[in-house]
Symmetry: C2
DNA sequence: CCCCGATGTTAGCGAGCACTCACCGACATG
DNA sequence: CATGTCGGTGAGTGCTCGCTAACATCGGGG
């Protein structure tokens, strides 16, 4: 769950004003004190709990008090880790987009040909959708709650992610226009991201191992049809 | 946009306490006075505006004042048509589910065989998704904002809708388990409902007539793969 | 060992908002 | 024409919630 923007850096920047701060630790290493590790844990815990709560009750349906209570602290302690409620949401969405993009670029580097690339992209996306269902829900539901800056950054990451799909697809189907391939990619995302939504529908669904195969099959068939 | 529940009946129930109310009009006819027609128009206008606003800013991001202002009245006038903000959302979601279900049952009656049925179901769903994009967005985003009663009713309608799909699919692919077909149907909904989401993504998309064909092709391919 | 900074707590403020109330004009009915 | 009802308004109310302020506590580096 990496975060770029957000004004709340996970690395403690103690004595940042002093120019002679090169004493305690090598400047490149993030100063592994006990205090900072606990802080990082708290931050991660808040993000995880927030993703679940936002997915369940919506961004507006969760209070700062809820966020703190979910990790054992109460109310305004959250402000020690995030500058505000919106920043928590921003960190979740940026982390998700970054993770998705990084993973895509990783698997693309390992695939021998275009077909394998598409298979890898699909498999990786399924991984994410099944593993971080909460984040998926929040992702395509609360994006417009973000302020313009953060929303723009998330959009940028998403756009780069989509372009990887379009690149691979245009190698497999050079006869099709880019606009169509981009549209098909978005539709496939809708298909793959449906699991978090249908998860709360009553009708019992297939075993978790089976789901994976079905989703990959459907995504491939729809994209290449 | 029919509404069953909601405690706000579109038919004026004036003098409902009097037992001798069989004077002015036939009891079955809804008393077509000018006043009641305007009221029905207002109600419909509020519902339409609310769908757009909820889709744009989320249920919690829209105030009762906004709802009134969108149709030219201000603030509490909305309470003359709906008992509260939640009732507006409930009417939208119930209307959507009902419309979708009615349309499905209509097209199913006109199709000669199972393959035509599936084609019709897909085409009808695409119609709805492209025509009422706002409602689609609200549908799969704000369902849990409803109170338990209304949510249950919407779930019931949705369930019946899905069962129509499962029925048709099981006639086309009797080798597959019902649970898998239901899961595939939900995934296809995710695919078809993706257009309202991707509509606000920057990358230019194909012409509106082309989209229809692509979506139908993808849905069919994914379901029958 | 001691002091500084960082993390947490409780109390409280101020804004936004759903909803109510008292009142008004207009339309349909007897 | 008189009247009761209905749709609309402006002011007001109480509550929720994001966020701040002032104070307690503790870990860790000089």
């Amino acid at each position: 769950m990496a975060s770029t923007l957000g004004a709340a850096d996970p690395v403690p920047a103690s004595a940042s004003t002093a120019a002679s701060a090169a004493a305690s630790a090598p400047a490149s290493a993030p100063t592994l004190t006990e205090r900072s590790r606990q802080k990082a844990d708290r931050r991660a815990a808040i993000l995880g709990a927030a993703a679940t709560l936002f997915a369940e009750r919506g961004y507006a349906g969760v209070t700062i008090e809820d966020l703190g209570a979910a990790v054992g602290v109460s109310g305004p302690a959250v402000y020690r880790h995030f500058p505000g409620k919106a920043a928590v949401l921003a960190a979740i969405l940026q982390g998700a987009s970054q993770t998705l993009l990084d993973g895509a670029e990783r698997v693309l580097g390992e695939a021998p040909d275009a077909a394998a690339m598409l298979r890898s992209l699909i498999a990786h996306h399924v991984d994410f959708a099944l593993g971080d269902a909460d984040v998926i829900l929040v992702q395509d539901r609360e994006l417009e709650q973000l302020d313009l800056g953060a929303r723009h950054e998330v959009r940028l990451l998403q756009r780069r992610y989509v372009e990887h799909w379009v690149d691979v697809l245009s190698r497999l189907r050079p006869d099709r226009a880019e606009a169509e391939l981009r549209f098909r990619a978005h539709a496939a995302f809708g298909l793959l991201n449906s699991t978090p939504h249908s998860a709360r529908i009553p009708g019992r669904r297939p075993a978790d191992g089976t789901i994976r195969g079905i989703l990959e099959e459907m995504a491939w068939a729809s994209l290449m049809s």
